[in-house]
Each structure stands twice: as C-alpha cells, then as structure tokens.
C-alpha cells in the first residue's frame, strides 16, 4: 500500500537535470540528415546503372565515401535517440527499460561501425 503524499509521488526521486542534450542532439541530427539523405538519394538515382562496379566506383570517390560515412553515423545516432524516446514512453518497468536501452545502444554502435567498415573496404580497395 502506497501511503506517500500525492506531492511526494510527483516529486519522486527529483529532477534528473538532463535531457536537454538528448533533445538538442535529436534536432541537430535531423537537420543534418536533410541534406545528407537528399544527397544520398539523388546521387544513387543519378547513377547510370546499379551494377556492382558502377556503385563501387561511385563509393570509391573520396567525396562519396566521406559523405556516406557521415550519413551512416548521423542516421545511426538519430535512430538511437529516437528509439530511446519510444522505449522510455512505453516500457515502464525500470529493469526492462534499462536493459532495452543498453541493447539498442549496442545494436546502433554495431550498425554504425559495420556501415563505416563497409564503405572503407570498398573505398580503400579501389584506391589501390
């Protein structure tokens, strides 16, 4: 039985004194994704074909490789921030919430690292 006063329940463990960084990072990454995703779609669609050698030659250009790496990193970061909000909204048990958030972070770091590695492998192999 919960005999705490209504005010004590609202105050809980107090303010976390954080959240502004998360909120602002989400806005900034979304702004960065606007030009990056437009660039990604436009350059991909303006390739003469989607043959393997055409796409890898495009990826091997320094400018494409650089922007692709940025796109992968920013998209992964933005996705991690967004999924965190959804989990915080809907997963109410503290234990399950923290485990899910850690798993999501690991998954996003993995995806981002794999993406960067893939771009580098294609770009550096063709450079030799």
């Amino acid at each position: 039985m919960n005999m705490r006063s209504p005010l004590a329940r609202v105050l809980g463990a107090g303010s976390a004194r954080q959240g502004v960084h998360h909120w602002w990072s989400q806005r900034v990454t979304s702004v960065a994704l606007v030009p990056l995703s437009i660039w990604f779609l436009v350059s991909l669609l303006s390739l003469p074909s989607f043959d393997h050698w055409v796409v890898s030659a495009w990826m091997a250009q320094s400018s494409s490789a650089l922007l692709l790496i940025l796109f992968v990193l920013v998209a992964a970061w933005h996705s991690q921030l967004g999924l965190q909000v959804i989990v915080e909204d809907y997963v109410h048990a503290a234990g399950a919430r923290i485990v899910t958030l850690v798993a999501i972070t690991f998954a996003h770091v993995l995806i981002a690292a794999a993406g960067v590695l893939a771009v580098l492998k294609v770009a550096l192999r063709s450079a030799q």
Binding site: R9, V10, V20, W23, W24, E88, D89
Partner: protein, 260 residues
C-alpha cells in the same frame, strides 16, 4: 508496458434508457457514462431522452435538467456556469471541454458525455484530480524572490512584462489539456503534463520572479518535461484558448539557450 485496453472492471456496459416525457417536442439523446463505486458493478452508458425545449442551451444545462427531473443520482462537478472555475470539464462527443460553455447546438448527433480520459473515476463524471493538483503544486506556483519587496509599494512590472504572463496566467486548471495528452496518459506518474508546465512557464517568464534557474533545473528531466512530443492536443482543446504547447516549446528553447 503501456496498457492499451481498459482494465476488466473499467469496461463499459450497456445502461438504462430513460424515455422522454409524453408531449416532448425536441428530443435529443444524451448518453452519459455512469459509475458508482459502491455498487461493485462495471461502469455503464445510460441514455436520457431530453426535451431540449425544456432546458437551457448548454450541455451543463442538460446535465442539471436530467439530475433535477430524471435521475437525482447523476453526479458531476459544476459551479460558476461561465467558464471560469473549470469544475465541469468533461469529455463531450470525444473532446475535452467545459460543459457550461459548450452549446448543445454545436454538437452533431447524440450527445455523449464521459469523464476526463485516463483519470481514476470517483463517481459518474467526477474524476480524481489529486495527482493533477499535486503536479501543479510541484512546480511551486508562487513568486520566489531574494530581493525584498519595496517597503512602500508592490513589486513593479512594465506593461510588456505583464503582457507576457497575462495569457498563461489565465489558466483555470480544468485539466482538459493534460487529460487530452497521449503522453500524459502513458506517463502521468512522471510527466508533469501541459497544465503544470504552462503554470511553470508562467512563473519562469514572470519578470518579478528570481528563481528562473532553479525552476528550469527542476524541469530539465527526460520525463517531467521531455515526454512532451509536440502532439498539441493540449492547445487544441483548451477552453480558454491558451497555448500550453507553445509554453513547453519555449521552456525547451530556454534550456538549450542556457547551455550555449
């Protein structure tokens, strides 16, 4: 996890129909949520056939008429009947609003009246607002200063400074906004909700207040403030035409500005 269905004992059963009196000319069906905690029964939806010719124009007039003439056990809060006390906030035809300022004529079809959504129900249309009021108290809705007030007069404020707080201070705490917010439905135990945040904003921008920083500190929290996802149901339903969504956005902006 969030609950997407009502608990078993909250599901609404079919209720009683009270037919209109003989000779009624302008009959309108008013469907009202009924719940009596003493009966041990599930809530039900009663239908009252109301002769709108015999009562005033507002939804509150209909409720008063039904209570007086048909079913004296019908329970609801009301006081000022002019939109200033906030007592008769309820969900009317799917929208949170004040029964006293909602003309029946503006409503399409049958009139459907439920208590404010996602709050514990005390009886019929009376929700338990204890937690909502505690959230208001939590933002310390009073002037906090270190400078003593001038001995011979009140603390002065320019006209422009007063205009900033003029609208936010007009909140009547009816709870229409907070109980219309999905984020508040899922997380009201930790998210303060639009009404409390609007009240916090009203003191944050008060030129006479000297606790702006502490107030912002108390709000900077992933749940207390940042559960607001700019859904803006709050601004949509506010019967006083206030803008809690904007107030929350301004608080978020101030928090960013003080870090850079």
């Amino acid at each position: 996890m969030a609950e997407f269905r009502l608990p078993r004992n909250s599901r609404i059963a079919r209720g009683v129909t009270h037919a209109a009196a003989a000779g009624a000319t302008q009959v309108r069906a008013v469907r009202i949520y009924r719940f009596n905690p003493d009966s041990g029964e599930n809530p039900r939806l009663d239908t009252f056939e109301l002769d709108t010719k015999s009562c005033g124009p507002m939804v509150l007039d209909a409720l008063i008429q039904i209570k007086a003439a048909t079913d004296s056990s019908l329970t609801f809060r009301r006081s000022c009947r002019e939109g200033i006390c906030g007592s008769c906030a309820m969900n009317i035809n799917g929208v949170n609003r004040l029964a006293c300022t909602t003309p029946m004529q503006e409503l399409q079809g049958d009139i459907r009246i439920y208590p404010l959504p996602h709050m514990p129900v005390v009886k019929d249309l009376v929700p338990d607002l204890t937690h909502f009021y505690a959230q208001y108290a939590a933002v310390k809705p009073w002037l906090q200063t270190r400078t003593p007030a001038p001995p011979d007069r009140e603390r002065l404020q320019s006209k422009e400074e007063q205009e900033k707080i003029d609208r936010p201070a007009a909140c009547i705490l009816c709870a229409c906004c907070s109980t219309a917010c999905p984020s508040y439905w899922w997380n009201s135990e930790r998210y303060l909700g639009p009404a409390a945040l609007l009240a916090a904003y009203r003191w944050i921008i008060d030129s006479r207040d000297e606790a702006t920083g502490e107030r912002l500190d108390e709000l900077e929290d992933p749940f207390r403030l940042y559960r607001c996802h700019t859904i803006m149901n709050c601004t949509d339903v506010c019967p006083k035409d206030l803008n809690p969504a904007r107030a929350i956005a301004e608080i978020k902006k101030m928090l960013v500005e003080r870090t850079s």
